[in-house]
Symmetry: C2
Subunit: 272 residues, 2 copies
């Protein structure tokens, strides 16, 4: 067998991978009409790791589309562990130089939520009543989860629109709290945003909202449920102070970062 | 066959699951000495879903330890998708009532980082130089990733100690930025914390830090690299304003939430 053929043979045995700037490689397994069988994958993976070990590679990533779920077991047998998963793929990772601790990036650790204080000129606040969950029967501020890739200030405006039909403008971020082990062992950041209403007629749209209305901020703050938790009591006090113009939080400044001038929001007390 | 035996037989075919308050069930597959084979698991899973369908269940969760990676394929074949993964387990989920959109909780979406402004009485700031990555050669504030279950204010103190040996006390949160698609398509929240140094002699400890020193805050702010990005320029200006006592951010208040009085930090402009 000639050297070119040998080289081709060798190449066949190594999984295709993209190198990164941290001494790592990523195998992006594609969903194909005829998916690779697990035995072939296992053999190629083992050969590939030996190869990358000799070339000084450190982290090895495998991105497996859900259609290739039958290949998970082989990767785990080779010492890979789970890094993260999204609905359509699983990311596995392996660290070649066992003698040194790994410096692989960590997984996402927080879910981000918002609560919206929408105040009109008469000191009335927009409140909602949910039809399920632990808050049934209680008038509360509209809340929601910040979607993937969404800005906090945008999420607050969207949630208020979805729950009440009221259009708003972001004014400022009043406060936020961080809590832990809130779901699947993960942490939670909850941002209270102050919004200015642009219209006042409520059109309830969200199926999870039973009722929405305008209510005097003092009445909202005096509810038994609000006063049962120290945190919600403080937040209600901030809302009342805001109505009295005796409180100011963080403004949102749209700026850019890095040489690529990627857009991002900076929240601070800089006056803009 | 008698009715009791029939009931027992039926019970045998259903996977053990814990009900939640949202009409869902969670199958927590245990790592066992003799793990279930995938065919048996597949049959039981199918029977279980039929059963839960008749009892009106909605979400079905499977928590699979990595040792049972051979069962992933069967769950996917039954229509399950990935919800999230941690190093030692994969969480899969399925929504029984196809006719209505699912209301399953979303996965963690953000990684959280901190940057620390440690200022002494002479207007000197604690800076570090990293020995790899894109910031090599640039004097920067100590930064780091907030660990799972860690408070932002605690993470800032820990990172400064690890990188420089300087013990500090959290003073306030100056500002934060949110950016998107920063790693694996996930978002990133970065909090700038002001800390008060409790000692001044540097003992570099972290292998990723090449050098650490005290530097006049104006010198830090005038670096070319700092001024190449609009965001880092604004942050440097906030740091200088802080030295001049012309800026104030969010304080951290340790409070409690809910009826269980779980501890959590609220960050706001309330004076404490």
């Amino acid at each position: 067998m000639g050297s070119v053929e040998e080289a081709n043979d060798k190449k066949m045995e190594i999984l295709e991978a993209i190198e990164d700037n941290y001494g790592g490689v990523t195998i992006d397994m594609m969903k194909e009409e005829e998916p690779m069988d697990s035995l072939k994958f296992h053999t190629m993976l083992r050969t590939s790791i030996s190869h990358w070990r000799t070339t000084g590679k450190k982290g090895v990533w495998i991105k497996l589309p859900i259609e290739l779920a039958h290949l998970v077991e082989a990767a785990v047998k080779e010492g890979f562990w789970y890094h993260h998963a999204e609905p359509k793929y699983l990311m596995l990772v392996y660290w070649i130089p066992h003698e040194i601790p790994h410096t692989l990036p960590s997984n996402a650790s927080h879910r981000v939520g918002i609560g919206a204080l929408v105040l009109d000129h008469h000191g009335q606040v927009l409140v909602v009543k949910e039809n399920s969950g632990k808050n049934t029967g209680n008038w509360k501020l509209p809340t929601g989860v910040v979607e993937e890739g969404e800005d906090i200030c945008t999420a607050a405006v969207r949630e208020v629109q979805e729950e009440t039909g009221i259009e708003t403008e972001f004014v400022e971020l009043l406060a936020f709290r961080q809590s832990h082990k809130s779901f699947f062992g993960k942490s939670d950041l909850f941002f209270i945003c102050m919004l200015k209403p642009l219209n006042f007629t409520i059109h309830k749209q969200d199926a999870e909202i039973e009722e929405a209305k305008w209510m005097a901020i003092e009445e909202y703050a005096s509810q038994v449920k609000v006063n049962q938790s120290e945190l919600s009591k403080i937040i209600a006090n901030i809302c009342v102070a805001k109505k009295e113009k005796e409180y100011s939080g963080f403004s949102a400044l749209l700026t850019t970062t890095g040489l690529s001038a990627k857009k991002c929001y900076l929240y601070s007390t800089i006056n803009i």
